[in-house]
């Protein structure tokens, strides 16, 4: 899967890193007419299994670009990105889709649930794309919904659920295929303070259960709940500090 010879930036053979996530000199460049916009300029960091990391930065800092790269929604213009031993930066679209399915669980600010589908079907979706059979799938989806305390809401549609409940459905969907990373993009951005606390408490519980969590946010209060904070500014890592 990993074909290093296709990457002009890495002529030498580099050993597969031990870290869960390894970003090495990542650049992302957008062509805006004749001008080149460097959204990321040589970002390098590693994330170990079981870490609880927050990525913080003002808008325009390159934070979203970095999140898209971590989430394998996009590939870097330059540099190497390894996740769980896979060299993502050299992958095709379909290989990326499979990595997203297996390794990443997304939690979005606006939940991004399928409006017409029940909570159960929403949580089943990643398993459908993983090719898991119907009965096994339902069982796992139900168990995951129960673990986020929505066992009694499995047949409700998103519009019949509160914001906090919707986000918990989204978290269940992110968790159901046992991903390596839970990648949350402003997960409390659309929630009131009380519900935000509930969701953050859930993240802490999930972290305590051994999940690796990456939280992308612009709120310092939320970032402070993590154990490590990476601050991004102008496409570069400004600070990388362990706070707990």
């Amino acid at each position: 899967m990993a074909k290093e010879e296709f990457l002009p930036s890495t002529k030498s053979v580099i050993a597969v890193p031990n870290a869960l996530i390894s970003m090495r000199n990542i650049w992302k460049t957008y062509q805006m007419g004749i001008e080149e916009l460097h959204a990321l300029q040589g970002v390098t960091f590693e994330v170990q299994k079981g870490e609880y990391l927050a990525i913080i930065g003002p808008s325009g800092s390159g934070k979203s670009t970095l999140m898209n790269l971590i989430g394998c929604l996009d590939t870097p213009s330059k540099g190497q990105y390894w996740i769980n031993g896979n060299l993502v930066s050299a992958m095709t679209d379909d290989e990326l889709a499979q990595i997203r399915n297996k390794e990443i669980g997304f939690v979005f600010q606006t939940f991004n649930l399928l409006a017409r589908a029940t909570a159960l079907h929403n949580v089943e979706l990643p398993l459908i794309y993983a090719g898991i059979g119907s009965s096994n799938r339902q069982e796992r989806a139900k168990a995951t919904l129960a673990s986020v305390e929505l066992g009694d809401r499995i047949l409700h549609r998103p519009n019949e659920l509160s914001g906090g409940q919707r986000q918990r459905v989204a978290i269940a969907r992110a968790l159901v295929n046992n991903p390596s990373i839970l990648l949350a993009d402003e997960p409390t951005g659309a929630l009131d303070t009380k519900t935000s606390f509930e969701i953050m408490a859930l993240f802490e519980k999930l972290h305590a259960d051994g999940n690796t969590i990456i939280l992308v946010t612009h709120e310092h209060d939320i970032a402070k709940r993590a154990h490590r904070v990476i601050t991004i500014r102008d496409g570069e890592i400004e600070k990388d500090e362990r706070i707990r």
């Binding site: 889709a97 499979q98 017409r116």
Partner: protein, 419 residues
Amino acid sequence: MNIGSGFYENLKMAFATLRSNKLRSFLTIFGVIIGVITVMLISSIISGIDTAVKKQVEAFGTRSIFLYKFNIGVNTGKRTQEERMRKPLTMEDAEAIKSLPTIETAVPFLNITSNFFGQKILVTGNNGKTSAAVRLQGTLPDVEKAGSEILVEGRWFTQSESDSKADVCLIGATVVESYFPFESPVGKTLEIGGREFRVIGVLQKKEQLFGGGGGNNDQSNAIYMPIGAALRLKPYADDLFILAIAKEGKLEEAKDEVQDLLRVRREVPYGKPNNFAMETAASIIEQFRSISAMVFMAMVVISSVGLLIGGIGVMNIMLVSVTERTREIGIRKAIGARQSDILMQFLIEAATLTGLGGLIGLLIGWALTFLVRLVFPSYVPLWAPIAGFFASVGIGIIFGLFPAWKAARLDPIESLRYE
């Protein structure tokens, strides 16, 4: 990804989407429905007519040769100058054909339905009923041997009745129904063209090409009488039709002999086409076949237009659907859907849409064939629903391909951001 379960999942999702857009879905597949109804109706009519024609013509016998001055079967357009100038066939022609070695018998039928002035000859019964629509034919006793009409009651007229121009007649099943609904007609009388005729026989009901009504096409709405009696009703009648029956296994030779004989008798110059028509059961069936082939082509065109309109509708609505569901596509991609998964999802959705239209069309068309059956003898050939269904599914796949491809190629990041 497991294709089987993926297909099933996609089908389930497709139905869920259709359910949430009922009206729009229905409007979209309207063209497909019309197309499939057309296939069902026209194919059933064609097969019905085909079978009826075959039955009716074969009822005259596979050894029969039909002779007439004009074309038999289907007339298209006006007769040409040459055709209008043609002399009628004569009794003597019939007599000469009868004596050919390959011919078993030849029977003339003199049509006197309308009299010399073009007026219809009226038939009045004792029950007070009067009709001008009964086909009146003068013929010879040989008709019994020709086997074109089957006697169910009474007898044919004898040679002596024929020679003496007796006012006796045999009546078809439709005539029995209208003039003698509650009694046996044999021995009763009918007034034909002002003369009193005694009914001596009843003929078997014939397979009808076009049902009901007793119109001109009703082969059973006929009265047969001796030629002499017919000539008395219409003195200069010359509208003569000859039915010749070939000897067993001699049909082809008989056709040649009859043709040669008539060409000589009617003085057709060498190298010129016949100035009369000669048909057999097979050739008349062939004529109808070529017409039904034309109708079939028309059907293909009409239903293709329907399906094409349906297809464009499907493409349009699928493009709208892809735009509307950009975010959904983004979500699906984010959680692991590959391009092929999205492509399949939208293709199956389009095919389900049109396939459903096909099924609705089949049901409506099938129901309508029952109505058609009241007027035409029709049945639905097996290929019609099968072809209709597969064509509609195929339309969905063909016209769904572009929207599905667009959906599959959407960028996940932009799609997730789409409002």
